[in-house]
């Protein structure tokens, strides 16, 4: 893989502004919530600006790994502080920036333990950013755990429905995932004999033999797959979504599940392509079951956040299906779908958050007719719901389209099953929209205010992103291709 070293460490700058924000928040006294919010907004905003700058200035003609930063950290073990940006992680970095910033704005009205909340939130997102940009196995594992632990506290302290249960369940599941990942990483490190955790060095063909790859791939796929909500290891995710505070749900569904899928791509598929080919059938099966299963279970939910949670299971199944096709198109579609799903779910959770803060309920049966009192807030939810149904003109349509075309080539039957889920997901999203926003307005909600301009900003940004990538998808596909085409070409036949 060709590399371009960075003149200025932009990637580290993202981490610095994240960690710097965290430190600054820790230094501010807890009563000065206004200052804390301002600092949070500024530092998360600057990560977004940096990520967007990288996304725009990445040289698509050149491709490869750009903005590379590399320092030897522990030479005896071959551990490097090694970051780089390519077509696979740039969309995810941009996504993280968007969700991070809009999440801070969504939590603008938080009153309870503001300082601690934002501190933990920043720590979690720092882990996410680190994982996406890192090219070193050791660091990937460390960042993975950095992003997980704050989650427990964030849910258990600021959460809502059955929060202790949700937080515990989520943490245990994800720890089980990391218990599978760690041995796989150690095993690969030992088997390579290169004494390095450097992914670029380890992905050279011939480093691992086929049986090693099969074993390691399975462990890594299951370990990261738990985080990506792969069926049947998905039940932590709806429960966790429901229990989490809004911004955490946004990051959780929008970005954290992407970490899982991205881990499968960056670690499992990059290092063990033989294992990938070997287990692809299983991946496709689990993914297509997840797509239809998530949609059908979503049909029966009574809690708004549960509905979104199960729709995430279904949509992450599409990502998995794309990854399982062993084709350029499949990878393109999967990465596009990761981005689209992240923005879309963030918009859904952000809208639910706004509604919950006003009505104090997210039970579908207790809502209704909200379009009359808060047309703008409802409008944003409806836009996201349409994206979730795969309506053209919004980003997720393209991801689904490309994945389905790719999947049909290889797995026609599983493809048909997955496409049928499009009807089911239309039914359950429209059902939710109908019961929540349509119908006569309820007396107890009759005097609720609509979104004031400032509080609407996060949803405005998210909706605009959905629409612009929906209208001109090449903007993102171009980027992903710079990574997927050379990667597939470099694989041994």
């Amino acid at each position: 893989m060709q590399m371009q070293y960075a003149g200025f460490p932009y990637l580290s700058a993202i981490l610095v502004s994240c960690v710097g924000g965290l430190l600054a928040i820790l230094c501010i006294p807890g009563e000065r919530t206004r200052t804390i919010r301002m600092v949070s907004a500024v530092s998360s905003g600057s990560t977004l600006v940096l990520a967007a700058y990288l996304f725009v200035s990445y040289d698509r003609a050149l491709g490869g790994l750009q903005f590379v930063e590399r320092l030897v950290w522990i030479p005896q073990l071959g551990i490097h502080y090694f970051n780089g940006a390519d077509g696979f992680n740039l969309p995810n970095l941009l996504l993280t920036g968007i969700v991070f910033f809009t999440g801070v704005l969504t939590m603008w009205e938080l009153q309870y333990r503001v300082k601690e909340f934002f501190a933990l939130y920043f720590l979690m997102v720092a882990g996410v950013f680190g994982l996406f940009m890192s090219m070193d196995l050791f660091f990937i594992f460390v960042w993975y755990d950095v992003s997980l632990f704050p989650m427990y506290l964030l849910i258990a302290v600021w959460g809502t429905t059955r929060k202790e249960y949700g937080a515990m369940k989520l943490t245990l599941y994800l720890l089980a995932g990391s218990a599978l990942i760690l041995p796989a990483i150690v095993y690969l490190f030992v088997q390579s004999g290169l004494n390095t955790f450097d992914i670029v060095a380890l992905m050279e063909p011939g480093v691992f033999n086929a049986s090693d790859q099969r074993l390691a791939f399975l462990l890594l796929y299951l370990g990261f797959g738990i985080l990506a909500g792969v069926w049947p290891f998905h039940t932590w995710s709806p429960v966790g979504h429901v229990a989490a505070p809004h911004a955490v749900s946004m990051v959780h569904a929008g970005v954290l599940m992407k970490i899982g899928a991205f881990g499968v791509l960056r670690v499992a598929i990059f290092l063990c392509p033989e294992g990938w080919k070997y287990w692809a059938q299983l991946m496709a099966l689990l993914a297509s079951v997840g797509i239809i299963y998530g949609a059908l279970v979503g049909l029966r939910q009574t809690d708004l956040k549960y509905v979104i949670g199960y729709s995430s299971v279904s949509h992450m199944g599409i990502v998995g299906l794309g990854l399982s096709t062993l084709t350029v198109d499949g990878l393109n579609g999967a990465v596009f779908q990761m981005f689209a799903h992240g923005v879309m779910t963030a918009l859904l959770f952000s809208s639910v958050g706004y509604i919950y803060d006003r009505t104090h309920t997210k039970m579908i049966g207790e809502l209704g007719g909200l379009s009359r009192v808060m047309p703008v807030a409802s409008g944003y939810f409806i836009v996201a719901a349409l994206a979730s149904m795969g309506v053209p003109g919004l980003a997720s349509f393209w991801g689904e389209l490309v994945v389905f075309i790719a999947a049909f080539r290889i797995y026609p039957v599983r493809g048909v099953v997955a496409v049928l889920a499009l009807v089911v997901s239309a039914v359950f999203m429209l059902r939710v929209v109908q019961r929540t926003f349509y119908g006569p307005n309820r007396e107890e909600h009759a005097r609720l205010p609509d979104v004031p301009f400032f509080l609407g900003v996060p949803r405005m940004i998210l909706a605009a992103v959905l629409l612009s990538f929906g209208l001109y998808p090449t903007l993102l596909f171009d980027m992903i291709e710079t990574a997927s085409v050379p990667f597939m070409a470099g694989l041994p036949k």
Partner: protein, 655 residues
């Protein structure tokens, strides 16, 4: 960008189709509070669309080959999705129809929707509808067509469910979206199979390759059958037809748009768009013919048993769509498209007239409208009768010519069963249409006393907008209606010029002939031997239907009950739509909700979560159990140690 300015044709196509999108965006984002401005923007943009479509029609009339523009849009490895415009006679004709009807409906809506709190939202959705439909019509590739096809579905969903506070309205919108989605799955799968098997979704190349036998026969049949699923959903063919009658929950002008030039027309349009491709598969054509026939007959029976003004027209739309599909499937390309054209005119007319009555009398029941003196509203009453005559196929109204064309095609079909079905359909259409008209023209009967009471009851409200009859509100509604009535009178006479335009150079059949394809023998309508006999037969059927309706509902002393009253079981069957909805509901409840969904949800709770919780329980319980060993009592530890050492010693002694 420069090429856009240099080429007036491209400019007109781009401007005409994309302005409504801008209009939607501007209304939703900026002018939601200002109703007048919203309407101005929307009507303004649709009139630009109208002008540019007329300009295109005139400029390209008689142009040799189809004009096509393509720009790369989505590039992802080997998947290339272009975006562009295909201007050939069919798309030009349809573009004009859509623009004319959208324009008239939007003007009409200024009056009809005035004072509605969702006025701006209404115009935003109207713009969305116009944009999606026009972009769909001039799509050069099936994928672009599919994308805008979905957006047409979205716009319909939003407009059908426009009165979202009414449960039935939001239910109807949902039903429309989901049922058409179901058909679209077939469409989508068909397209994917074509992408994989043939690799190109350009409409022109698909048609050529289909005709030139470059696509394997089995591939054509499979994809054609799947793609027909889309037609069944959008054009409300059996068994996906029940969403359309429910769709009248939307505002009446929306129904007019939906039933004439946009939503339901999309299906038939798509069918005719790939007609040369489709006609290469006899199996698919046969299926389409059968489904069209069943649809036409079923929905005609439904229309005989309802007293809802809009519902009668809704069922008649379904039956006319079935009729168009029959015409196309029997090989009558021109006949099907021609009937689509005339139908768009008179169906919009019928709905817009109904809208005036509904706006005036606040009821959908045509018996009550009749009793309250509906016939006194001269303009809509006359115009509605014109529309009814066109729908029944009476000379010289437009429906006569196009129905005649389709029946001619059916007459040329070797199996005369279809012709018989078509004639029965014509009879039923005339019957139920004039049943409605006579109820409104000659109101009387048992319900009269009730009617007087009703008239008094709503008399108050009536007086309130008495002034509207001469105000702009009435005229914004009356003028479009009169224009449409005029169109319905004259359009039929343009048959031969339309035919030469559609069948001429650059058209689909011309390509057919050029590529030496088969299966277009029947594409020319039957001017054969039996033509005059057929003409007389069809007219007799239509007049017979009207006479029948007159005997039962029109003449002095008629009971106004209808023959169906004698067969209550049949009447109930018709009124309940042959229990199609009940069946669907039962299927959803029994199989999907209490079946699959329930099982999966329980699986999540019990098996997966239960399993995990079980593991946790055993871990904790095991820890408790083992913790007895760590009691902290020295004597106990000593005892365990001695026993253990004893075992070890025993082991070594025995080994």
């Amino acid at each position: 960008m420069m090429s856009l300015l240099k080429d007036p044709v491209l400019l007109a196509a781009a401007l005409g189709t994309s302005l409504p999108f801008l209009s939607m965006a501007v209304i939703l984002v900026f002018t939601r509070q200002n109703q007048r401005l919203s309407a101005t923007i929307s009507v303004g943009s649709v009139s630009v669309s109208l002008l540019s479509s007329l300009y295109l029609l005139i400029t390209l009339y008689g142009a040799g080959a189809p004009v096509q523009y393509e720009f790369p849009w989505l590039l992802a490895d080997d998947i290339v999705i272009p975006f562009g415009y295909l201007l050939d006679p069919l798309s030009l004709l349809m573009l004009t129809i859509v623009a004319v009807i959208s324009f008239l409906v939007q003007v009409y809506s200024i009056g009809y929707m005035s004072g509605d709190p969702g006025f701006s939202r209404y115009y935003a959705f109207q713009s969305l509808f116009a944009w999606a439909m026009m972009s769909m019509v001039i799509a050069p590739s099936m994928l672009q067509l599919f994308i805008f096809w979905e957006l047409v579905g979205l716009a319909s969903y939003l407009l059908i469910g426009f009165y979202y506070e009414k449960w039935s309205a939001s239910q109807a919108g949902k039903k429309a979206f989901v049922m058409t989605r179901l058909g679209d799955i077939g469409f989508f799968l068909g397209l994917i199979i074509l992408v994989l098997g043939f690799g190109d979704l350009s409409i022109v190349r698909m048609n050529e390759a289909g005709q030139g036998h470059q696509i394997p026969q089995y591939l054509i049949t499979i994809s054609a059958l799947l793609i027909f699923g889309g037609v069944m959903g959008k054009s409300a063919q059996f068994p996906l037809l029940t969403w359309l009658p429910d769709a009248m929950e939307g505002p009446t002008p929306v129904s007019a748009l939906l039933h004439s030039a946009t939503m339901v027309a999309a299906g038939v349009y798509m069918f005719s768009r790939i007609f040369p491709f489709y006609s290469m598969s006899p199996e698919a054509m046969a299926l389409a013919l059968a489904i069209g026939t069943v649809t036409m007959l079923l929905s005609s029976t439904m229309a005989m048993a309802t007293y809802d003004l809009k519902q009668v027209w809704a069922y008649s739309t379904v039956s006319q769509l079935g009729f168009m599909v029959m015409g196309l499937a029997a090989g009558g390309y021109f006949a099907g498209v021609f009937h689509l054209t005339t139908h768009a005119g008179f169906k919009a007319l019928l709905f817009l007239c109904s809208g005036i009555f509904i706006h005036e009398y606040h009821t959908n029941d045509f018996r009550i409208i009749g009793q309250q003196g509906g016939r006194k509203l001269m303009i809509p009453m006359v115009c509605m009768t014109v529309g009814a005559l066109a729908l029944s196929g009476i000379f010289p109204f437009s429906g006569f010519f196009s129905k005649e064309a389709i029946l001619g095609v059916l007459a040329n079909h070797p199996n005369k069963l279809w012709l018989g079905a078509g004639l029965v359909g014509a009879l039923m259409t005339a019957y139920y249409t004039f049943r409605l008209i006579f109820f409104m023209l000659f109101p009387r009967g048992v319900a009269a006393a009730h009617g007087v009471h009703d008239a008094k009851g709503s008399g108050h409200g009536h007086d309130d907008h008495e002034g509207e009859h001469h105000g702009y509100i009435f005229w914004t509604m009356a003028v479009p209606v009169m224009i449409l009535a005029g169109i319905s009178v004259v359009l039929g006479f343009s048959q031969s010029s339309l035919e030469s335009f559609l069948m001429g150079h650059g058209s689909v059949p011309a390509q057919l002939a050029a590529s030496g394809g088969e299966g277009h023998a029947a594409a020319h309508d039957g001017h054969g031997i039996g033509h005059y006999a057929l003409l007389i037969g069809a007219v007799t059927m239509a007049l017979g239907g009207i006479f029948w309706a007159f005997m039962e509902f029109g003449r002095k002393g008629a009971t106004q009950e209808g023959f169906l009253r004698a067969f209550p079981v049949v009447e109930r069957l018709f009124a309940a739509r042959w229990y199609m909805d009940a069946f669907l509901r039962a299927f959803l409840d029994k199989v999907i909700y209490s079946g699959l969904t329930n099982v999966f949800t329980r699986n999540d709770r019990r098996v997966i979560d239960g399993g995990i919780d079980g593991i946790c329980f055993f871990t904790v319980a095991g820890g408790r159990l083992l913790s007895f060993l760590q009691s902290g009592m020295l004597q106990y530890n000593l005892l365990v140690m001695i026993v253990a050492v004893g075992f070890v010693v025993l082991y070594f002694l025995l080994a």
